[in-house]
């Protein structure tokens, strides 16, 4: 079908100018952004923010560059204006309400952290795949496709920067292999993993050899659907493969391609933009009469997007403090189960296994 070639062409064309880091321009949901901590969200600053809101007409401050439809004026209530004194009175009450809520939330936060620490002690894989498999064997079912949203933490933090991101991702790969799940989707907003795919391959290799020993590292394939590339195992094996292929040893390379896990790397580019690009491609095809408008159907779009991005994951894990999907491809989260731990901010095994646990217990009833 023509449309497939066209969209592949489109992929190759745009892959050069892609990946401008735009995470800084994104406005994350408030709770997640505050609870992630960092320098800006120190306790004293939070108290300052709350108390200073007495002096501040918040309804008229724009938060993002995207212009909101129309801003309500503060104090306008039921059409009648509130007096200056009255609105000041309510603002003071609001701050008191904020402070009491903040105290409550602080207690909740400490409780959650404590709980997570204990859970991390209970569930500890200790680089041992047998333990992971044992945990998984207790479950009734496991997801076919697992997705995880990973993110780069500030460079100064523990486990931050590119190193930390690669480490987190490769650990996730190890757990997924050990749990016996065949497909893993790793999503990061800026596509850092895509750009550093060779480092990722090395990291996964060394991590897997920690789990399984250097002599029998499980085979893996890394797929980048956006640029339509597949990498097998770690970069050192590329040369071997080439030698083999030139030596005519076809069977051996075929065997090498049997993998125990397939990892797809996605980024923000695969979300809304891909859908719009597909629309453009279809529009061009329709304009040149290669495709009739009546032929555009749900099935066609679904199969195209599956081709371009991948299949819908069954379970999506998020390792941040409150669920923030960060632009995960919208078409692909139709029935996906979400799992995250409140106030958690680390990629840990306890979140992983508890996510699988929840998935095992959930009932699927489409529409019923």
């Amino acid at each position: 079908m023509g449309i497939k070639e066209e969209s592949c062409y489109l992929q190759r064309q745009s892959s050069d100018e892609e990946c401008i880091p735009i995470a800084a321009t994104r406005v994350p949901p408030p709770q997640g952004s505050v609870l992630k901590g960092g320098e800006v969200n120190s306790k004293s600053r939070i108290i300052k923010a709350v108390t200073e809101s007495v002096l501040w007409d918040q309804r008229n401050t724009e938060i993002d560059n995207v212009s909101r439809s129309s801003s309500a004026t503060s104090g306008e209530f039921w059409g009648k204006k509130m007096g200056k004194f009255e609105s000041f009175f309510y603002r003071i009450l609001l701050v008191m309400l904020y402070i009491s809520y903040g105290l409550f939330r602080y207690g909740q936060y400490q409780y959650n952290r404590m709980r997570l620490r204990i859970l991390n002690l209970i569930y500890n894989p200790a680089n041992t795949p047998q333990l992971i498999r044992q945990d998984v064997m207790k479950l009734q079912k496991i997801p076919k496709r697992l997705a995880a949203i990973v993110e780069m933490k500030p460079v100064g933090d523990l486990g931050g920067g590119l190193k930390g991101l690669l480490n987190d991702s490769s650990e996730l790969v190890c757990w997924t292999v050990s749990a016996g799940i065949k497909h893993l989707v790793l999503y990061d907003f800026d596509g850092v993993l895509k750009k550093n795919v060779n480092e990722l391959r090395n990291e996964i290799h060394s991590q897997l050899s920690k789990y399984y020993g250097p002599s029998n590292v499980p085979r893996y394939a890394i797929k980048i659907p956006h640029s339509n590339k597949i990498y097998f195992n770690d970069p050192n094996t590329d040369k071997e493969n080439e030698n083999n292929a030139s030596g005519g040893d076809q069977e051996k390379t075929q065997e090498k391609k049997k993998v125990s896990i397939e990892i797809s790397l996605l980024s923000n580019r695969d979300g809304r933009e891909t859908i719009v690009d597909l629309t453009k491609t279809m529009a061009d095809l329709c304009a040149s009469n290669d495709l009739a408008i009546s032929d555009i159907s749900m099935q066609l779009i679904d199969s195209e997007l599956t081709q371009l991005v991948g299949q819908e994951p069954d379970l999506l894990l998020y390792f941040g403090p409150s669920l923030d999907l960060q632009g995960f491809p919208p078409w692909h989260i139709r029935l996906t189960e979400f799992y995250w731990e409140t106030d958690n901010n680390e990629v840990t095994y306890s979140v992983f296994i508890r996510g699988l646990n929840q998935y095992a217990g959930c009932k699927m009833n489409v529409g019923k």
Binding site: R26, Q31, I63, S74, R105, I275, V276, L325, I333, C362
Partner: protein
């Protein structure tokens, strides 16, 4: 004589005293009864509850609130089952909850509320239940239209829009929808979207198709923003700030995928939908406001800091945006140590 006179006086005094006591007694008793009724009568508790509600809402009307709130109303049937009621009652209770919450949201200052009333997948349910839902929907449509036009009603001045694949509905229902949308189209300050029958993939698919059509016909360029604008929710299509799903499932079930996959706060709650009341809703919005106050403070800087900076003409202590190096004022003259200046 003298004694008699005194006796009469005393008798009269006693009678008067008795009378007064009696009068006061009845008065007290009556007013006590009244007070009793007043305290324990529903009106008082109701008014107190309403007063507390509107007081709390007044406080929150000083805070930033989400612009677009969305509900996935899950748990009506389980609610009915848990109370041994027929399914229909469960759906009715859910409808009442929805209207109450819409009213609360409107009072708080939310601009737009949307609700997942019926999924396209729900056509797979038994015919009886689908019919019940259709009838209930028609009744609620009428009720909403009436209330939106009654200037005494809190829902006055709101716009009602039904979104979704309306081709799947019956002819008369479509007529009715058209009529109600026509009646309420002037409500500008608040919009209420009811998704009936809707799935998000269906919405994306329709938008794609329409975009292609308009490109072929009028050569309208397709961009991310034009695509977003063409979706079902008018100007609120780009994002939903707060998505609430009740009854404990952690998934979207094909709802608002495009709107909430990026910046939305997503709340999953264990309560069944008919039990989801004012205080829960208030707590969720309070949490949102609390964290967005802090977020906005971090982004814009506080009012104090900004005011001071402006007062003392200190410019650019914070990095607001990226600027060209040429636009800076000239630095002082550069002189090398040997004294040669250029």
């Amino acid at each position: 004589m003298f004694l008699n006179a005194i006796e009469a006086q005393i008798k009269w005094g006693i009678m008067l005293f008795q009378e007064i006591i009696h009068q006061v007694g009845t008065l007290i008793r009556l007013s006590f009864h009244q007070m009793f009724d007043w305290i324990f009568g529903l009106t008082l508790i109701n008014t107190a509850y309403k007063k507390i509600q509107s007081f709390l809402i007044n406080i929150l009307s000083m805070a930033p609130v989400p612009e677009h709130v969305s509900f996935i109303m899950d748990g009506n049937r389980r609610y009915a089952k848990s109370r041994n009621l027929p399914l229909k009652k469960g759906h009715e209770a859910g409808g009442i909850t929805l209207l109450t919450l819409v009213y609360i949201c409107k009072k708080i200052g939310v601009k737009c509320v949307s609700a997942y009333a019926f999924s396209i997948e729900n056509f797979n349910r038994s015919k009886e239940e689908v019919d019940t839902l259709m009838n209930l929907f028609a009744i609620k449509l009428d009720e909403f239209a009436r209330r939106a036009n009654d200037y005494k009603d809190p829902l006055y001045g709101s716009k009602l829009k039904i979104v979704g694949d309306k081709d799947m509905l019956s002819e008369e229902l479509r007529e009715k929808i058209k009529k109600v949308e026509e009646i309420t189209k002037n409500g500008d300050d608040f919009t209420f979207f009811v998704c009936f029958p809707y799935t998000s993939r269906n919405e994306i698919f329709h938008t794609m198709k329409n975009s292609v059509e308009s490109y072929v016909k009028d050569a309208n360029p397709i961009t991310l923003s034009s695509f977003s604008r063409n979706m079902f929710f008018d100007k609120y299509s780009n994002r939903c700030d707060l998505l609430i799903r009740t009854s404990g499932h952690n998934r979207f079930s094909d709802y608002m995928l495009w709107q909430s996959h990026e910046n939305a706060t997503i709340e999953f709650h264990d309560k069944l939908w008919p039990n989801f009341g004012f205080f829960l809703m208030y707590l969720i919005i309070l949490r949102w406001s609390f964290f967005s106050t802090i977020q906005r403070f971090n982004q814009n800087g506080g009012p104090l800091g900004k005011g001071l900076l402006r007062r003392f003409h200190v410019f650019h202590l914070r990095k607001d945006s990226f600027i060209n190096v040429d636009s800076f004022p000239e630095p002082p003259i550069s002189v090398s140590i040997t004294g040669e200046a250029n």
